[in-house]
């Protein structure tokens, strides 16, 4: 236990944690949206994210960029990041809807027990990540360095880089847009209706199947954005990258209250920060263990999370 280390590095750990937490939060939205509507843990969401990371790297590869190429100019970078995001969002969105159509819809039609959904979800997750693993030879894949990290703000020993600011701001913007969409738009009203009571929503003329696809798509979009930010921040991806981060994202969703959009944001940021404090205290090899222990503790003492489970009930 390294208390003095934790206190001395409190600032840097918080900043790193917030940037990491922003990515986790966007990722967690996918779990929370699907859970809010279907009461289902979409285990395959981690692979939705994974394919996003690869899609953006492949697109950047078309421009002849790999992890060794020099950082391109300012405008080129902005264009490349947007292109990468488009690719990642498309890949993630298609994967999310594909998983829904192939793995979940047939079961729903048969009114299968809840456990059955979880089992197919795991099957889908394993099949996708392992196929990627076989194709890539289980090697790590480097990401081109699009952003040269420079310190923008320095307070004491706390350095805040341009990339960290970009990640947090982008996550907050996406979060805001999604919140507006769910709470203000017509489609969002459909989603909330199905979340509250699927049968009455269907009787009122909401197309359930379409709403469910939309929910998976939205989760996929957020995961795609998160995937690009992950690429820029971590700089490498691997076939099991989605799986490990996925458990953290799920923890974040549960921490904030699964089914609650704002809860996912709060949970993600909190988890990112707590993880880094844990790593500062016990050493970095325990970073992942911190999130698992935290998950168990939350589920034991406050299983509905900090803000409660409420996609439907919020602003009902």
């Amino acid at each position: 236990m390294n208390f003095s280390g934790l206190i001395h590095n409190f600032g840097p750990l918080t900043v790193t944690g917030l940037a990491q937490g922003a990515i986790i939060a966007l990722f967690a939205l996918g779990y929370t949206l699907v859970y809010g509507v279907l009461r289902l843990i979409n285990f395959a969401h981690s692979e939705v994210f994974l394919l996003g990371t690869y899609a953006s790297i492949i697109v950047w590869g078309f421009f002849g960029l790999d992890q060794n190429s020099p950082t391109p100019g300012m405008f080129a970078v902005i264009g490349l990041i947007i292109l990468g995001m488009v690719a990642a969002v498309v890949a993630s969105g298609v994967t999310a809807i594909g998983v829904e159509l192939i793995a979940y819809r047939p079961l729903r039609r048969r009114n299968a027990p809840k456990l059955a959904f979880l089992i197919t979800a795991i099957g889908a997750s394993l099949a996708i990540s392992e196929t990627v693993g076989v194709i890539t030879g289980r090697n790590i894949r480097g990401v081109p360095r699009l952003i040269r990290q420079t310190d923008v703000v320095v307070i004491g020993n706390t350095h805040i880089t341009n990339l960290q600011i970009l990640i947090v701001v982008l996550a907050l913007v996406m979060m805001f847009l999604l919140d507006r969409f769910i709470n203000r738009s017509r489609l969002g009203r459909g989603i909330r209706a199905v979340a509250q009571n699927p049968d009455s929503a269907a009787l009122m003329g909401v197309n359930q199947g379409r709403v469910i696809s939309l929910v998976f798509l939205l989760g996929g979009l957020m995961a795609g954005i998160a995937a690009v930010m992950y690429n820029l921040k971590i700089g490498v991806t691997r076939f099991d990258a989605g799986f490990l981060l996925g458990i953290e994202a799920f923890t974040a969703a549960v921490l904030g209250g699964i089914g609650n959009l704002r809860g996912a944001l709060l949970g993600g940021l909190l988890l990112g920060v707590l993880q880094n404090y844990g790593a500062g205290l016990f050493g970095t090899e325990w970073l992942h263990a911190v999130s698992f222990v935290l998950l168990v503790v939350i589920l034991l003492f406050r299983p509905t999370g900090l803000l409660g489970e409420s996609l439907g009930r919020a602003r009902a």
Partner: protein, 375 residues
């Protein structure tokens, strides 16, 4: 169960029409002889290669056949254990490999010369300890988590397996990637004085595994037909109704967890005894999901189903070992997790009751299907 099969009527005829119904109607001595014959054949499996024509097609090429059979035996053991947790009690445990690891690591700590404890016990002395530690770990995990809803339980157990792996990787006592070497083999001598459980021939290990499986099957079967088994059934079908009818759900769920952990630990003990070496890389999480695939594929809640499923998840990849695929030119063995991931989805969609279904389970699924709102 046999009384259900004998009932006349629409359902009865369907159930009696198949092989199982026919077998259940035979006199006791025929059934006993039949079961003994199957067991005898199972003991003779290492000599499959001697069968003309068919034999060479069955045996594995990339790995010697007795080793493949031993692998099958510990996978079957794990499938039987997970079947108690998932199939009987209906608790989705995704961290089953954790118990396997606990069993194997306890043996390694107590017996290996690399261990800090320095005990260097023989393998047999470590067995009861390893099983007890696995069982206790099951209780420790189960006690706080069994109050959770089903889907949360799955994630927490997943986390448990990851924590065990991280602990194994990061602590000095469990030696991380370096692992433990020279874990002793089971005792026993052949007539010529050489060790019965050597490194060359895995046949004795397979026989040992098979014997353990038979004992476990007897135990689990009796439990399933006891008060405990009926409580599991009630919990699986409707936990709240069971609680109201006076079933102490937490207690029986803990039972299922502890017994599953025990059997998983036993699998780890066998594994450590044969391999002689293990490190933190042995216990990847995909492993638990593979075993889950076996249970689901074979038919969860049914012992013959679990045995078939456990054998298949080990046999199919081992049979594919050493065969190159035409596209990526990698060993097909590397595809095993991907293939079984897809198999899980296909089974759950097209045959949710599994290859050899439990009759009661199949009926439950049929009932639910009728309740489904037409869309």
């Amino acid at each position: 169960m046999s009384s259900t099969a004998a009932t006349p009527g629409k359902n009865g005829r369907r159930l009696n029409g198949n092989l199982r119904g026919w077998f259940a109607r035979q006199p006791v001595w025929v059934r006993i002889v039949g079961v003994l014959a199957v067991i005898a054949l199972a003991y003779l499996l290492p000599y499959t290669a001697e069968i003309p024509l068919i034999g060479p097609q069955i045996v594995t090429e990339g790995i010697d056949w007795p080793s493949a059979l031993f692998n099958m035996s510990y996978y079957v053991l794990l499938a039987l254990g997970l079947n108690v947790v998932v199939g009987y009690a209906g608790l989705l445990d995704l961290g089953y490999v954790g118990f396997f690891a606990v069993g194997a690591y306890t043996v390694a700590l107590l017996t290996s010369p690399d261990s800090r404890l320095g005990t260097e016990w023989p393998w047999l002395a470590a067995v009861p300890f390893a099983i007890a530690v696995a069982m206790i770990s099951g209780l420790i995990l189960g006690w706080p988590t069994l109050r959770l809803r089903g889907d949360y339980l799955a994630i927490v157990t997943l986390g448990f397996a990851e924590i065990i792996r991280i602990v194994a990787q990061s602590t000095e006592t469990l030696r991380g990637d370096r692992g433990f070497t020279d874990i002793p083999h089971p005792p026993g001598q052949q007539t010529d004085g050489s060790a019965l459980f050597g490194v060359r021939d895995a046949t004795p290990y397979y026989w040992l595994g098979l014997t353990v499986i038979i004992l476990v099957v007897l135990g689990v079967r009796n439990l399933d037909r006891s008060r405990v088994g009926r409580s599991w059934l009630a919990i699986r079908e409707d936990e709240e109704a069971a609680e109201i009818m006076g079933v102490r759900t937490i207690k029986y769920k803990l039972w299922a967890f502890a017994i599953g952990a025990c059997i998983g630990g036993l699998g780890g003990v066998m594994f450590a005894g044969q391999q002689g070496f293990m490190n933190s890389g042995t216990f990847v999480l995909q492993f638990s999901i593979l075993v889950l695939a076996g249970v689901v594929m074979g038919g969860s809640g049914n012992i013959p189903g679990a045995i078939l499923g456990g054998a298949l998840i080990s046999y199919i990849p081992d049979r594919l070992r050493g065969i190159q695929d035409p596209i990526f030119h990698t060993d097909l063995f590397g595809f095993r997790f991907a293939i079984f991931g897809a198999v899980i989805i296909l089974i759950m969609i097209f045959r949710p009751q599994g290859l050899i279904p439990s009759r009661r389970r199949a009926m439950e699924l049929k009932d639910r299907e009728k309740e489904a709102a037409p869309s």
